[in-house]
Amino acid sequence: MRIFSTDHKVVGLQYGWTSLTFLLLGFLLILLIRWQLAWPADPLPLGGLLGAGNAPGGFMLPEFYNQLGAMHGTIMVFLAVVPLAVGAFGNYLIPLMIGAPDMAFPRLNMLSYWIYLMAGLVMLASFFLPGGAANSGWTAYPPLSILATSGQTAWLVGMFLLIVSSLFASINIIVTILQLRAPGMTMMTLPFFVWSQLVTSFLLLLAFPPLQAAAILQLMDRLAGTSFFLPSGLVVSGQALAVSGGGSPILWQHLFWFLAHPEVYVLILPAFGIVAEVITTSTRKPLWGYRGMVGAALFMGFMSFLVWAHHMFLTGMGPTMSAFFQVTTMIISVPSVIILSSLVLSLHGGSIRFTVPALFALAFLPMFGIGGLTGLPLGLAASDIPLHDTYYVIGHFHYIVAPGTLFALFAGIYHWFPRISGRLLDERLGRWHFWGSLITMNLIFMPMFAQGLAGLNRRLFDGGRTYAASAGFEFTYELQAWAAVALGLVQLFFIVNLILTLRKPRTAPDNPWQSTTREWQGRS
């Protein structure tokens, strides 16, 4: 295997291993946060290793806490989940599923991986800058982000590179799917997985450039002293800021969420695609309502550009704007419901084989359901106002992304591992991995709804101990911390499984799950 390869399988695997590494890193960052939130008055175990600048005597500084929060979000969304879902699964499987010799532009494909890696390294290196990594949240809201330490500049450069990489990848995927389908394979015979990747790529292609524009403007604000996002008369530490002013912090929020709302569908659509393939294989039945699902995915992709300001109900937008975005948000939940219902109905009447990939895919359904349902109150301004910026929001999207999307990705890994490596992952270790992750994730995320409803803010480094709202929640924080440790430990079942299996001979049959899709027919 060449390191600088243009082969879609090699590029797909490179994306896979790199993004799994980032997934682990992103998890370790948040493990520190969970421990800190549980015992804010105590030093962290091994906290001395973090350095005196971050945790003197093992006591975590708020500044470092902010870096961990910002980088956890950034790494998980941009460097782990999307590259795994699109870069790894998309690259490896699309050409096999549509009978193409490779991606349409193999060299561009290779380039997109290497730029992604560079972006990731820039992000990681930023921890070693004076002042550390970016610390203004994964949303990088100004004015905070513009006044922040130099880690924010690295963050912007990293994002810029990442957007270039994602541009190359999305062009490649769209052209491959539309142009390189095997003769006779019409659009309506594409596996749903391929459709999900197609819609995802359009979202990446069209939603990321506005964030790139925003990143350029924020770089100008930080480096050239402009005031795109700085209002007039800003006072920092008792001193009026010496800038021309006249800018708008809200403008950043518009540009950011114009990307980041479609981005949440980038996080979920590939998961739908994987779950659909795994479920049809485990039930040995075709998808229920394939056409409806394709229509729903397209409609969802289109609508996702019209809902962004539901993240901004508290910015003082007028009632007309707010009404518009409430209505579009309610409308966009319809296609999610259609897809989820079709997946559930696909189970009906099938004799389900409860293999490890099937377990992960089945658990995805109710977990995504919880995430989606808890989103509805956030989409209505009246109920969002008290919930905004509380742990409730964190609970909402983690149900979708963690026991949701991540479970789908695990399902995909267990499902296609024999296709990739010629070996079946161990079922027993897989079950431990599955049940362990399911239980611990729920223990971590379920209490967040209660914390949020009680009004606990999501950004406080002591878990809000100085506020009355936190009274009685100490034990939930401790429960979450232990559950997070346990979640880390059960991932060892997965890691050990990967290592042990890769050392065994290639004994898997060519089509171990008796799947009917093209990638399993005939080996190359």
Partner: protein, 193 residues
């Protein structure tokens, strides 16, 4: 390259979509560029309408230099689109001339920046100039990109053959049309309005 079958439809159109991979990829790229500049122009509009006072572009910018540069850039596009009908091998002087004009554009833009710098104008002066320097700078980078593409086509012409070179010329001509369009928007939005 690995040992698989060649990628079909790289330059020849596919019957049911009617386009080649390169053409489709090119339009997708332009779509993303439209979103990039669209976001910047929208930011410009939003900042401008919410500003208390806003300088008048024709008074604070060098309208003369900007107008000449507009003509220069239009001529780049005219020359590039002539390559389409040029006989075999005859596109070379056209591409060279267009590239030379693109260099003239960059030189004049540089001169304009220098003049402004001497006058004491900086991106930090006010939001109008912040937008001006950001937009024109990003546009200038796109001109540099076009120049590099022109050179790359000429350098590769002998090794990839006539059909491939023609395909590339067509794509890069469209790219120049986009660069012109962005410039015209900047010119109208910043220099005139």
């Amino acid at each position: 390259m690995s040992g698989h079958a060649p990628i079909p439809y790289t330059t020849e159109p596919r019957a049911d979509t009617g386009v080649s991979n390169v053409t489709m990829g090119f339009w997708l790229f332009i779509a993303s560029e439209v979103m990039l500049f669209g976001a910047l122009f929208s930011s410009y509009a939003l900042l401008r309408v919410s500003a208390e006072d806003w300088p008048v572009g024709r008074e604070v910018l060098h309208l003369g230099l900007g107008s000449i540069n507009t003509m220069v850039l239009v001529w780049v596009l005219v020359l590039m689109s002539r390559t389409r009908r040029a006989r075999v091998g005859h596109y070379r002087p056209l591409v060279l001339a267009a590239s030379a004009l693109a260099l003239v554009f960059l030189a004049m833009k540089g001169f304009e920046y220098r003049t402004e710098w001497v006058e004491g104008v900086r991106p930090a002066t006010n939001t109008f100039f912040a937008m001006y320097f950001t937009l024109t700078g990003l546009h200038a980078l796109h001109v540099v990109g076009g120049l590099i593409a022109n050179m790359w086509i000429l350098a590769g012409a002998s090794s990839v053959g006539e059909a491939m070179t023609r395909g590339r010329l067509q794509a890069v001509t469209r790219y120049w049309a986009f660069v012109d369009l962005v410039w015209l928007t900047i010119f109208v939005g910043l220099y005139l309005l």
